[in-house]
Subunit: 383 residues, 2 copies
């Protein structure tokens, strides 16, 4: 049910012919109210796709009630024509569902630098509008896939209200969001500022902690729409917890489906002087290609972990660093600890724990191993 798990939403997904494969590639989500509100978070990349520029603007105006999404083309680095195309997608969606253009956010994903086939998109929007349904969430989630092997959805239900969502993304996942599009919906009653607060808090410790390959996209967008259809106004903490829970679930699905990966790696940094230090160290470890190769080879190469920590400006003493791999403290006091053979790395999940012994703050970063399959997937064709 995903984006249609919460009451007050219609969705659809269709094959508009944007993808050469003929797979579904265009989705709509429409908020029917009665108390519509929206919030959004976008890529921090300074090179931003036309739909990101459009959506950022209309979201600031406060009246977003629908989202049109396409896969098969990012509409990024497409110049003035690309801006016109993003606006046209909003206008045609608005006309088809009876809204103003400024009420429609636009999300695109796919190859950068290639114009969208607007004739097919126009026809696709008309078809998707006809197909809008209160159980259309799965179709929408399928239509936003690119290299994703599965579509990704999550739902949590609380007393009388629900938060649900869909995500696409399978690599190019990095801070300030990832190559990912996420639409969350809730039937809770909440205005824009409350949604914004809950969404930013959730994104900061979920999607922003996903760092599959250190690359940040031009198109990343996370939207949260509230309909108010449940009639329930949850407390701020309740709303934040539910949104966080759905974001965490989707973020883990993104890492589990990263392009060409064979391991899901959690870098847990503890004992940091600050959360910022913990995140900095976690990212440095998660982005170290040599370590990512070693973990792929099931080699508990803690020296590469220390080498990555050493490139940061976080507070630590090099002679007091501890590192565990899957719970075995293979490095103590910056030197060899327990026998590395004790670390069982045969499973798909690997946890690298770094104890900076400099304070009480902590953070987790999720990443993947570096594999020949990743290289193949990202070198054999444009993506």
């Amino acid at each position: 049910m995903t984006v249609t798990a919460a009451r007050g939403f219609l969705a659809s997904g269709v094959a508009a012919g944007i993808k050469a494969s003929g797979d579904p590639d265009l989705a709509l989500v429409v908020n029917q109210g009665p108390a519509p509100a929206a919030a959004g978070v976008f890529t921090s990349n300074r090179v931003q796709a036309a739909p990101v520029r459009w959506s950022r603007r209309v979201l600031a105006d406060g009246g977003v009630r629908a989202v049109v999404l396409n896969s098969g083309g990012a509409n990024a680095c497409t110049g003035a024509a690309g801006a016109d195309d993003a606006r046209a997608m909003a206008e045609r969606t608005a006309a088809a569902v009876g809204l103003a253009p400024d009420a429609v956010a636009v999300c695109s994903t796919g190859l950068i630098g290639v114009p969208l086939p607007m004739d097919r998109i126009t026809a696709g929007i008309a078809l998707a509008a006809e197909r809008l349904a209160s159980d259309g969430g799965e179709d929408a989630a399928v239509a936003i896939k690119t290299t994703d092997s599965v579509h990704k959805t999550a739902v949590v239900s609380r007393s009388g209200w629900t938060v649900g969502g869909m995500a696409k993304g399978a690599g190019m996942l990095a801070p300030g969001l990832a190559t990912m599009l996420v639409v969350l919906t809730t039937d809770a009653v909440a205005d824009g500022p409350r949604l914004d607060t809950a969404l930013r808090a959730a994104v900061r410790t979920t999607f922003d902690r996903v760092d599959s390959d250190g690359c940040m996209s031009t198109n990343d967008t996370v939207l949260l729409l509230a309909s108010g259809a449940s009639g329930v106004t949850p407390a701020d903490g309740e709303l934040a917890e539910a949104v966080h829970s759905v974001c965490l679930d989707l973020a883990r699905q993104l890492i589990a489906d990263a392009e060409g990966a064979s391991k899901e790696i959690e870098v847990a940094v503890v004992g940091a002087a600050s959360e910022e230090d913990a995140v900095t160290v976690g990212r440095s470890v998660a982005r170290n290609n040599l370590l990512k190769c070693a973990l792929h080879g099931e080699d508990p190469n803690w020296g590469r972990v220390l080498s990555a920590i050493g490139t940061t400006d976080a507070a630590f003493d090099p002679d007091r660093l501890d590192v565990a791999i899957n719970g075995v403290w293979v490095c103590r006091d910056g030197a060899a600890g327990e026998p590395r053979e004790k670390a069982d790395m045969s499973g798909r999940r690997i946890t690298v724990t770094v104890d900076l012994r400099a304070g009480d703050a902590s953070a987790e970063i999720w990443t993947n191993d570096l594999t020949a399959a990743y290289v193949h997937e990202n070198s054999a064709y444009s993506s």
Copy 2:
């Protein structure tokens, strides 16, 4: 001839049995004067190997006249015992060649976190001291190889004086030096401060611009020894130019021999508001795994270049970025430019030119593509 191209130096390289393969793994370089002086630059990684800590200290004291180097073990993250081992290497070398321990710099390279086999190293130092010769430079260059496929040397001769050197390194090359050991020698007359100025200037625009895989080592060391044996005192500019020339030659050899690489990539950033901006953008592009995969696949994917530029805080307007691949301006004004098919990427060398159109500064960063062979080499065994 390498480190023995300049007069006043002896060198040797022997197989001490540190490497299981039985290949040469221990080298000595001795400065015979008559006017010995030295300078050095070390890794900026905060996790520093014991030999780096030792060499940094004795170099500051100003009396370094010999270098002992080993491959087969990095002596990094080895605790107090590792510090003792680095000191012992200096002491045994000093005794064998008739110097004080503080006159001997120590360099190690190989696996992190494993103690050195000091009995073999002790015997190897004795053997290497016996073999010291005025034509021993090649043997020394061979003995410091790890995963290098070739040994690396360079020499430039000026009127009556010479600068020569050797380097090891084949991947894990990143700013603040690389996993590399470099020893340069000259028979010019120059004191420590002059050598230091020339060496830092050269390293800044050569080894520090090499970024094969974004990973910075714990052991990187570049040493420059002057004997004064030519009797010639070059002007500051002449000395700096010759040292730069040798460093540039060796840096390009490092990139050409990077582990598992199939392309040598120059990222040339022009039109930057400052050299710092140019370096920042160059590094961001050079470290983008998605782009490195695309270039491996000979895909002129300029969208990934823009995406990498967009993650920096350099001065630029996203709608005024130009990108050329091998001289074809595939991106103009932040959007598609000349047809991408025009870019011939079949050769081993690829140049990615970024014009930020924000000023007159420029910088080049050299990197490699990301290949399945790189993944294999760094996952199939500890390194």
